[in-house]
């Protein structure tokens, strides 16, 4: 009954929308990894790689997130989580390292699954904080949010990747959303909550707004600096045609 009551409130629907978006943004990198890792495989193996690799990753993700939601009820952890989340959000906006080594790559099914699994392990530990934070303690919100967004990311990986490549502003908006969640998390940590509610209730919207501004400003600045430092002109396909008749 309480579950049905919860569904009726606007706060719930806003929260659901928020958690779906946060989950997509934070799973976007998994989507890119899946799209790239499975690309060189024949179609039937592609489906298998996605099924096994992503399936295992999803189970891990759900368990870790439920644990995180519980942990976030403890004092100080939300403040720490907020700082971590701000750092994650800024890093989302940075371009690739030229020397990115990567996991051993070869074009077989097992290698692709391994890549997807390792990617999820390496990248999900921080993803979990964001989703747990956006859930704001509601298990309903958490499970619904995960159930809706995870299949989208897994089965729409290639499409998501193309969308995000074409319109990089999507990532900026996503990083901003994380900044918002981080600010909100910081203002509601049990350690400060009492004081904030009594003396500085305005922090409930100022902190999230500050989070957005911080992430977007710092992220864009660092990215622009990295781009400017890139002296050499990258050419991935240099070649010439002589114009003679073939």
């Amino acid at each position: 009954m309480e579950f049905l009551n919860e569904l009726q409130t606007a706060v719930f629907w806003i929260g659901l929308w928020q958690i779906i978006l946060v989950n997509i943004v934070l799973s976007g990198d998994n989507a890119v990894v899946i799209a790239l890792a499975a690309r060189s495989l024949p179609p039937r193996q592609q489906k298998q790689a996605i099924f096994w690799g992503a399936g295992a990753a999803v189970v891990m993700r759900i368990i870790l997130t439920i644990v995180a939601v519980e942990l976030l009820k403890w004092p100080w952890l939300k403040l720490v989580g907020a700082a971590l989340l701000l750092w994650i959000a800024v890093k989302l906006l940075l371009p690739e390292h030229d020397d990115g080594e990567g996991v051993e790559s070869s074009d077989n099914l097992w290698a692709a699954i391994k890549t997807i699994l390792i990617a999820d392990l390496v990248m999900s530990l921080d993803n979990v904080i964001g989703v747990a934070a956006a859930a704001k303690g509601s298990l309903t919100l958490l499970i619904l949010g995960l159930l809706i967004s995870i299949p989208l990311v897994i089965f729409g990986a290639t499409m998501l990747m193309k969308l995000m490549t074409r319109w990089p502003v999507i990532i900026t908006i996503g990083a901003g959303l994380l900044g918002w969640v981080a600010g909100d998390m910081a203002a509601t940590d049990p350690v400060v909550k009492g004081w904030v509610d009594a003396n500085a209730a305005w922090l409930h919207w100022v902190a999230p707004a500050a989070g957005v501004a911080f992430v977007v400003a710092l992220g864009k600045w660092l990215a622009a600096r990295a781009e400017a430092e890139q002296q050499k002109v990258v050419d991935l396909g240099e070649g010439s045609k002589t114009g003679a008749l073939h």
Partner: protein
Amino acid sequence: MLNLLVPVDGSGPSGRAIDHLIKNFGRFKDGVEIHLLNVQHHIPYGGRVSSVIGHDKMAQYQQEEGMAALKTAMQKLDAAELKYHYHIGVGEEAGIISKYAKEKGCDQIFMGTRGLGSVSNLVLGSVATKVIHLSPVPVLLVK
């Protein structure tokens, strides 16, 4: 020799620019140096993804997308028996186009007014608009 930078993205307007190039400059066969350029966007979440997937695989993806975008332009120029160089750059289009114009010592940039991303109501696409601002050399736009 006239050195032209010709950014293309595989779109209709982009193809029309090539048709125009062939029609008006084709007669100067050896007097024109053509540099085809396609600019690919950065792969999203580049920082995080590159530590797992690795730079080479990502570059390979962008190269394949780049060659696909260059295909129509290359076919048209081949059919007209014109000589050209081709390049695939990575990053924000207008900035990279301007960088290439400087790097290759181009006298002029030759491109369509719109491309794949353009909204049909606008006369001038966003990339063309930014190139006009950033370009170190004259820009010729083909509608």
